[in-house]
């Protein structure tokens, strides 16, 4: 806002202050006994004042003027609501989930949830942060020293500073890791600390996460989204950037490897069924490192290798999100199918950096916290810079006796995290007399298993609730609520013996009226804005999109698993295109005025069966066109194939799953397109259901054919965008080649079969059948321009089987397939080209021979030739899996004697 006159500026300033004051009045206050971080005393905290001022300033001039002129705050609140809408869309577009969204999970009754993110950031000022930064860096150093001791001399246990029960008695203390000194003495590369602020304003460490902490990916995603919604406030508050920390982590990982600057780094994930898989994909992509599963890696000669299309390539650093137990079935859990046999030995031999080192999990026990003050003084010669919340381990009998009379001030937590002994933390002040007796009894039976932490009334942070949707609704609604919050702060290794604390992290917000914060139990998250006072580069652009950090590392070839996923991504894309087209052709044919010949109906029915449009229980269109049509439409929308047909929506689900698995190789738009197409098709199909209003609930919902056609048409357009992106937007590497091979194999098998059946059934004899075949091959226009009204088998075969320029002719498809495969094979005498040479593929067919065949008027012979192509396509697919994909090597099993 500019003004020529100081007095105007002053008056405008007054009015701004009044508006902000009104907004502050509107925002809910924290309940008594909880610190309200929105306010300082009665007034708004200075950081929040700046924040709101900047949002106000971003209003369009007329709306800003209206608000400033004393109108209600509607325009300002509407602005927040609009931003919140953008946020929701962004979360949805990016496909951010906590649990992976798959139909497989859904059919098991598990729900994936979209990532829950608050519009308002949590803001931490310079003085708060200084305390946290120092405390967290010190703790990371302390915990690392403790690990060096426990996996070395064990002076802490020998000196009685740590109980044997919490180390040797903890399942997360790994004996196979004993005696191993990781390079640089660094056990922890990523440590997370959950911190909370008490009523007096002091910060406390509530828990420590040392094994494979989650949140680095979500923190980044939150920042990308929220900072873009409030660019002015973000700059004005000098919020510190996160990118430096991620870069430093990668540099540090590389610095710890013997491979030096050429070190190859991978991110090891348990796989798509893990609840935080989204962030594994996201983080790998941002860090510019390969995302791998255990099956992608192998240990040979005590070194770790990754299986790629070109053979084994070395791996030097594993940033892992797989828990300790599962890392190595040879030395850890034998039943783990996720791990890498021999990994512990490679680590022992110093040939791989594991971040974090295996065996750090025992530090996560709540029981450890109470021992830290003494240990810190002993190992670092200084007091803990930031205290832990008062914590007691009941295994120390004197502590248990002190604790018992004051139990109601505490939260009971499990000491150990194994199946038999863990339990949901219990807030003792909520116990009934009976419950209290039960708990006391359990503790007395086995005190070692129980720990207690003081109950801390958490500080509150503002949370955007949206505008009231129904003005009449009872309690007065405030769009800005007050919620209990905790923050997860990350200490990252910064070269051997050095730590950096990422200025930001994951703020986690409790549900309304709750004092326990957990993403797992329905909490939400917020971007954590940290003001360090160090940011000088105000003009620095905001992060606008996820661009991988620049890499100077040797690239890793395409991992076999990624290759397989790309292959299936290609196949499902093509299958989606084919089923969508076939469904349209079929529905249009059934709806058309013209009378279908029985041959044409038989052809359509056979294709509908083999392409999964209907199940075989459904009557043929000849028996009952209406029933057939209804079943076909119902199956279109059936994502889990419960009607027995694997139709369009089911294919879309598979495609989405395949796309999810290869996300780190796709542009974000490609993934969004798949996700959005699936959502849109779902929505259009379900809008289309006419639920019967009668009491007869047995009747299946009916759909309108017209509506279904509209949904299919819309989907066809989306599929064109998908295939376009695959053709135009991807680098021509072997991964892309496999995707393309997948598409061509699918197309070859489907179209050769369709054509074979068209001849076999006699559908091509009628005019309608003939035009439907052309339609299915998307070749009507070309045919008309070439052959005008002519209609004969020879012309049809010429265009659909032999033509080298029609991308839907069999010869074109098989030619492209063969040339892609030839480029894939790096060995001089590749298995696949040799195999291909023995096949009678359409691009080798002689035009004269086909002309003769067409003249003989023997549909059976033509069909036999075409069926041969279908079988060849399947054989190529099998051979490809054998040659390139890791699972072909046979199962892993544990043996013992």
């Amino acid at each position: 806002m500019s003004s020529l006159f100081d007095s105007d500026a002053a008056r405008a300033g007054d009015r701004t202050a009044a508006v902000i004051e009104a907004l502050s009045q509107l925002a809910k206050r924290a309940p008594a006994g909880h610190l309200d971080s929105l306010r300082k005393g009665e007034a708004l905290a200075p950081t929040w004042r700046i924040f709101f001022e900047k949002v106000l300033a971003s209003l369009p001039p007329t709306e800003a003027a209206a608000v400033l002129a004393g109108e209600p705050l509607d325009a300002l609140l509407a602005k927040f609501e609009e931003l919140n809408g953008s946020l929701r869309r962004k979360v949805e577009d990016n496909g951010v989930t906590y649990n992976l969204y798959t139909d497989a999970l859904e059919s098991e009754g598990r729900q994936s949830r979209p990532w829950s993110l608050d519009l308002l950031p949590m803001i931490m000022d310079q003085s708060e942060w200084a305390q946290i930064e120092r405390g967290v860096a010190q703790r990371a150093e302390l915990l690392n020293l403790m690990l060096a001791d426990i996996y070395g001399e064990q002076r802490l246990v020998r000196g009685g500073m740590l109980p044997t029960a919490l180390i040797q008695g903890h399942p997360a203390y790994l004996r196979p890791a004993h005696g191993i000194k990781p390079r640089g003495g660094t056990f922890l590369h990523v440590a997370a600390f959950d911190m909370a602020r008490g009523p007096d304003g002091n910060w406390w460490v509530m828990s420590q996460r040392t094994q494979a902490p989650s949140g680095l990916g979500y923190s980044l995603e939150n920042r990308m989204i929220v900072s873009r919604l409030f660019p002015e406030a973000f700059r004005a508050l000098h919020v510190d950037k996160l990118a430096t920390s991620y870069k430093a982590l990668i540099s540090s990982l590389i610095a710890h490897s013997t491979a030096g600057r050429d070190a190859r780094v991978v991110l090891l994930t348990p796989g798509p069924y893990n609840e935080t898989y989204f962030e594994h994909v996201y983080l790998a992509r941002y860090l510019g490192i390969a995302l791998v599963e255990g099956g992608d890696l192998v240990v040979r000669d005590e070194h770790v290798w990754i299986k790629t299309l070109k053979g084994l390539e070395p791996v030097d650093v594993i940033l892992r999100r797989l828990d300790d137990d599962f890392l190595d079935p040879l030395e850890l859990r034998a039943d783990s199918a996720l791990g890498i046999p021999g990994l512990m030995q490679a680590y022992r031999a110093g040939n791989v950096v594991l971040a974090n080192a295996p065996g750090t999990g025992f530090l996560e026990s709540a029981a450890i916290l109470g021992f830290l003050p003494k240990i810190c003084r002993s190992l670092l010669g200084q007091p803990l810079a930031i205290p832990s919340i008062a914590s007691w381990w009941c295994g120390e009998r004197s502590a248990m006796r002190t604790l018992m009379p004051q139990l109601s001030d505490y939260v009971l937590k499990p000491t150990f995290n194994d199946r038999g002994r863990r339990f949901v933390p219990a807030i003792a002040r909520a116990f009934s007399t009976r419950e209290r007796e039960q708990w006391t009894g359990k503790i007395a039976m086995r005190p070692e298993d129980f720990s207690a932490q003081a109950f801390l009334p958490l500080s509150h942070t503002p949370s955007w609730q949206g505008l009231p949707t129904n003005a009449a609704a009872g309690a007065p609604h405030s769009p800005i609520a007050s919620r209990a919050a905790m923050v997860r702060v990350f200490a990252l290794s910064n070269g051997p013996g050095k730590w950096q604390v990422m200025p930001g992290g994951l703020a986690r917000i409790a549900p309304e009226g709750r004092d326990v914060v957990s993403m797992y139990r329905g909490g939400s998250s917020a971007d954590l804005w940290v003001i360090t006072g160090r940011v000088t580069d105000e003009a620095a652009p905001l992060p606008t999109m996820l661009t991988p950090l620049s890499t100077h590392r040797a690239p890793i070839g395409i991992a076999s698993r990624a290759a397989e996923n790309l292959f299936w991504f290609g196949r499902y894309t093509e299958r989606l295109e084919n089923t969508t087209r076939l469904a349209r052709v079929t529905l249009e044919a059934l709806a058309s005025e013209a009378e279908e010949t029985p041959e044409t109906l038989a052809w359509l029915h056979k294709l509908a069966l083999s392409n999964g449009l209907v199940s075989k229980e459904v009557p043929t269109p000849k028996q009952s066109p209406q029933v057939f049509e209804r079943a076909l439409i119902a199956s279109l929308a059936d994502r889990t194939a419960k009607l027995g047909a694997y139709s369009v929506a089911a294919t879309l689900s598979s495609l989405r799953f395949a796309a999810f698995a290869v996300r780190e190789r796709l542009a974000l738009e490609q993934w969004s397109l798949v996700a959005a197409s699936a959502a849109e098709f779902d929505a259009m199909m379900s809008a289309n259901v006419n639920h019967t209003t009668s009491a007869d609930t047995k009747q299946a919902p009916t759909y309108s054919a017209q509506q279904a056609l509209r949904a299919l048409e819309r989907l066809s357009t989306n599929v064109m965008a998908m295939t376009g992106a695959q053709t135009d937007r991807m680098t021509r590497d072997d991964g892309w080649r496999l995707l393309s091979i997948g598409r061509h194999i699918e197309r070859l098998s489907v179209l050769s079969e369709a054509l074979a059946v068209a001849f076999e059934s006699g559908a091509v004899e009628s005019e309608i059948g003939f035009s439907l075949v052309l339609n299915l091959f998307d070749s009507t226009i070309t045919y008309r321009s070439r052959y005008l009204q002519r209609r004969d088998a020879h012309a049809l075969l010429e265009l659909l089987a032999l033509n080298p320029e029609n991308p839907r002719s069999l010869a074109w498809i098989s030619q492209t397939l063969a040339s892609r495969i030839a480029k894939m094979e790096d060995t001089p005498k590749g298995v696949l080209p040799t195999m291909l040479a023995t096949f009678n593929l359409p691009h080798h067919w002689k035009p004269e021979a086909i002309a003769t065949l067409a003249r003989t008027n023997d549909p059976e012979a033509i069909a036999a030739l075409l069926h041969g192509v279908t079988h060849d396509a399947w054989a190529i697919s099998d051979a490809l899996s054998q040659r390139y994909f890791s699972h072909a090597e046979g199962n892993v099993q544990a043996v013992g004697a």
Binding site: G160, P163, A165, H178, V299, E396, G420, E889, A894, V895
Partner: protein, 325 residues
């Protein structure tokens, strides 16, 4: 007694195994009681990579990889040891044995608990629950049936050992190497490993310290019959702790203390810490495992060449097991 031990393990796979990683705990441990005079391990086919390392209890392990397809794996360990001789008062069936003095078990249990700044005792580790010898009320209850107030800890162990010996049926088919002791206790059946793990779990559930001993047993051929080569098996028993007296070893399979016929391979919390041979293979389909153990007194007999393995167990593809006495 001077004993030679030959332990041969052979896997025959239905299909060639493409790749394998193994770890062997096959070298007898040298202690103040047991002398190890010689030890060799041979592996066929020749491993592509092999490394020795020391486990957290100071015992040697061998890691090896096989990176080329192999239809069969044979691991043979040959060792010569001298085992300690017990005084005559401590040999024979437990009922006749006179035990060394020990503290009341409640005092020992209290010693195992943590108090700030206490002096270190490495035995506390073996009072903690472990995967195959956990702490549970069921075991506490079972062990309580033989315990009295202020009973010396070794007397308690003896009573528990004898109870397991009399109550449990020796049955190789009832369990396998991964059977949890809860199950063995419910069945009252199993092999030496199960007997040992039930006893350890019982003692730990009372707060006491006990460890698992992996080893071999010299069996006496029937009078007048020659010793059968390869007929022996791996063995397991229990080592029980008392702060004043140290460790004393009980064999619940044979109702005796471990003596000169017992060759010690390794100590652990339970079987899972020290399996003689553990591996992960890729491919191979189902496999046949045969284990042949020969323990021979060297003063009397010359070491003989190995005869055919005594027992063959055809196993389904998933895993594992061997008979243990």
């Amino acid at each position: 007694m001077k004993l030679s031990v030959t332990h041969e393990t052979r896997y025959e796979y239905a299909y060639a195994v493409e790749q394998a990683h193994h770890i062997a705990h096959l070298k007898p441990i040298a202690t103040q009681q047991q002398l190890v005079l010689s030890h060799q391990i041979s592996i066929e086919p020749k491993p592509s990579s092999l490394a020795h390392s020391i486990d957290s209890y100071g015992q040697e392990r061998v890691y090896f990889e096989l990176a080329t397809p192999h239809p069969e794996l044979r691991v043979t360990a040959v060792s010569v040891v001298i085992t300690p001789t017990l005084p005559p008062s401590m040999t024979g069936k437990l009922a006749q044995v006179t035990l060394p003095e020990s503290m009341p078990w409640e005092t020992v249990a209290e010693h195992m608990q943590y108090t700030g700044g206490q002096t270190f005792d490495a035995a506390r580790e073996f009072a903690q629950p472990s995967p195959l010898a956990p702490v549970h009320a069921t075991f506490a209850k079972y062990a309580s049936t033989v315990s009295n107030n202020a009973m010396p800890v070794f007397e308690l162990a003896k009573a528990l050992c004898h109870r397991i010996y009399t109550e449990f049926e020796y049955s190789p088919e009832a369990t396998d190497v991964s059977t949890p002791p809860q199950e063995a206790l419910a069945l009252k059946k199993g092999v030496c490993q199960d007997f040992a793990q039930v006893m350890i779990a019982g003692l730990r559930s009372l707060g006491l310290s006990a460890r698992y001993v992996s080893g071999y047993l010299l069996t006496q051929p029937p009078p007048g019959k020659p010793r059968l080569i390869g007929a022996d098996a791996s063995h397991a028993w229990v080592s029980v702790y008392c702060p004043s007296a140290g460790w004393l070893e009980f064999d619940p399979t044979n109702d005796c203390l471990a003596g000169e016929s017992h060759v010690t391979l390794a100590y652990g919390r339970d079987y899972s810490d020290v399996p003689p041979l553990r591996g992960v293979i890729r491919g191979g389909g189902s496999h046949e495992l045969s284990v042949a153990v020969t323990v021979m007194p060297l003063e009397h007999t010359k070491p003989a060449a190995l005869a055919a393995p005594a027992a063959k167990a055809s196993k389904p593809s998933q895993s594992q097991s061997q008979s243990q006495s």
